[in-house]
């Protein structure tokens, strides 16, 4: 079980995380979403015992994350956000070193190397970004830890390897592991996690099931219609805040629970093209962010 109670950790510049409260039950996989600089890595630093909270406490399986860090590490696997390996080592040397430091044999090492198609014999300094990430994944999972704390674990992986990673997380979830995984990709979290924490400017603004989040997220559709003015007014009438852009495309933000109604409204129009706008996480969860902002200013 991973818990955080009133966890507050501030940096000299005033940024940080404030009053974080969450509990991740045993066997649950939780996605930790938020834009860059929101405080995901800071939370993870507190959970790993690298930083001591100013107030509040973080605990894993009842052990204090700062004071009992070595005991926690015995059952923990982690991938740092910005992976930096000990210098001048080959991948194989690094894995052996981690096994030695843990005092146990990485029983899943060979299996994981095969899964991610990684040859660890070369020097890490010569590895590509993706290979380093794979090596980090192998090091985090090879001793089969009960708790996993992963900071943007798929960054740098190609789509094939990302999907293998997703499969690995699902497998571990089914084996009863407790997992906290930060990300800024909703898709990745959607595919793997039971529940989601959303953090913004150091505060958790949403905690709930992935299912609920899926329903409440907002997508922006780009509609090109034969008669743009008529289309825009039809959508506005149906309750969608449609907005015509300069190039004749209409932008329509649609929340997850209104997709069906949107499609049916659009079906009555003469459509030239319909597309989904590529969005940042922040735009995806505009509703949460806006609510969070209001709460924050209250």
């Amino acid at each position: 079980m991973i818990e955080s109670h009133g966890l507050t950790l501030t940096y000299p510049g005033g940024k940080g995380v404030f009053e974080l409260d969450f509990v991740i039950e045993d066997g649950k996989t939780t996605g930790y979403l938020g834009p860059n600089g929101a405080g995901k890595t800071t939370t993870i630093r507190a959970l790993l015992g690298f930083m001591k909270p100013d107030r509040g406490r973080a605990a894993i399986d009842g052990l204090d994350c700062f004071a009992d860090a070595p005991r926690i590490q015995r059952r923990l696997g982690t991938i740092p956000g910005e992976i930096s390996f000990p210098e001048k080592m080959s991948g194989r040397e690094f894995l052996r070193f981690m096994n030695d430091m843990r005092g146990e044999r990485g029983k899943r090492e060979a299996e994981l190397l095969a899964l991610f198609d990684l040859d660890p014999s070369g020097r890490i300094a010569k590895f590509s970004k993706g290979m380093k990430q794979k090596l980090g994944i192998v090091a985090a999972f090879m001793h089969d830890p009960q708790v996993l704390i992963l900071d943007e674990p798929t960054s740098g992986l190609d789509p094939l390897m990302q999907s293998r990673f997703v499969a690995l997380i699902r497998q571990e979830r089914d084996r009863g592991k407790t997992i906290l995984m930060s990300s800024h990709s909703f898709e990745e979290v959607d595919k793997t996690c039971d529940q989601v924490l959303i953090i913004r400017e150091g505060r958790i603004i949403h905690e709930g099931s992935t299912e609920m989040l899926r329903r409440s997220r907002t997508r922006t559709y780009l509609l090109q219609a034969a008669r743009p003015d008529a289309a825009a007014s039809a959508l506005t009438e149906a309750g969608f805040p449609a907005r015509a852009t300069d190039n004749g495309t209409i932008e329509v933000p649609v929340s997850g629970d209104a997709v069906d109604r949107f499609i049916k409204t659009v079906a009555a129009l003469q459509v030239v093209d319909l597309n989904v706008k590529h969005q940042s996480l922040e735009e995806h969860f505009m509703r949460f962010y806006q609510q969070g902002g209001e709460e924050g200013s209250r």
Binding site: R45, F50, M51, Q73, T78, P80, E87, K88, F97
Partner: protein, 265 residues
């Protein structure tokens, strides 16, 4: 103490020790082979041509004639302080702050080893490697002297000289190690870890220039012993104890600050 980490540290830093040992052993060999009792008077005469202040600043004294005094004056006055100082600065930075700055410390701490255990292991390597360096140099000196000038080196006095020089260097590496544990930023730690020993060495040299400035030596740990006195009497327990306790206090302080530190890794 983590044996796995110690093995890794030896593998990654052993070469640095070998290089410094090789350079110093080379100097030792050259100095011993250049020694010639009959020529000592001539050398002394030649040295009179140089300004006396300069010679004294370099730690070279002119009134020695035996091999042990010759080495104490010509090698242990400056070279055996300055070269190992560079080693101490480089190693102390490598051991801790470079790992914190690059973030690879995260991997050491992502294992069931406490911060104390990791710092004790790294600090122990620092002390042991300086110890080994001087024990090797002592052995090399004895062997070379025996081969080139049999019976001329006062082994016991030469050992005393090496022990005290080793201890002052262990104090210096602990200064660097302490700052290496205190800061996140490699350049800031490097500034203190290098700046302080260099300042000490300069004070020691300035203090040697003339009687009037001898008090400067007192400000520098390097000036708390005189190599030439080391080879005359018994083991200088007091100054040895001061160096050893200084190193121990700094080691303790390094562990203390690192255990409580916020590590943005």
């Amino acid at each position: 103490m983590s044996l796995a980490l110690l093995r890794y540290t030896i593998r990654k830093n052993g070469l640095l020790l070998v290089i410094f040992y090789a350079v110093l052993a080379f100097y030792l060999a050259v100095m011993i082979s250049m020694y010639n009792p009959e020529d000592m008077a001539e050398i002394t005469g030649m040295l009179d041509l140089f300004p006396e202040d300069l010679m004294q600043a370099m730690g070279f004294s002119q009134q020695v004639s035996d091999l042990t005094g010759y080495l104490a004056s010509w090698l242990y006055g400056l070279l055996m302080l300055a070269f190992p100082m560079v080693y101490c600065i480089i190693l102390s930075q490598r051991l801790v702050v470079r790992k914190v700055d690059s973030g690879s410390m995260a991997y050491l701490l992502a294992t069931p080893n406490s911060r104390i255990r990791i710092i004790v292991t790294l600090g122990a390597y620092a002390l042991l490697s300086v110890g080994l360096l001087f024990m090797l140099l002592f052995g090399t000196g004895v062997a070379l002297a025996e081969a080139i000038h049999p019976g001329q080196l006062a082994t016991k006095q030469f050992l005393h000289l090496n022990i005290t020089t080793m201890l002052v260097n262990q104090l210096v590496i602990m200064i660097g190690f302490f700052f290496s544990c205190l800061f996140n930023d490699a350049s800031r730690a490097g500034g203190f870890s290098a700046g302080l020993p260099i300042a000490f060495l300069l004070l020691n040299m300035l203090g040697g220039v003339s009687e009037d400035y001898q008090w400067l030596k007192r400000l520098s740990p390097y000036g708390w012993f005189d190599p030439l006195e080391q080879i005359q009497g018994e083991m200088p327990w007091t100054v040895n104890l001061v160096y050893a306790s200084g190193a121990a206090v700094l080691f303790g302080a390094a562990i203390f600050v690192f255990k409580r530190r916020q590590l943005p890794i």
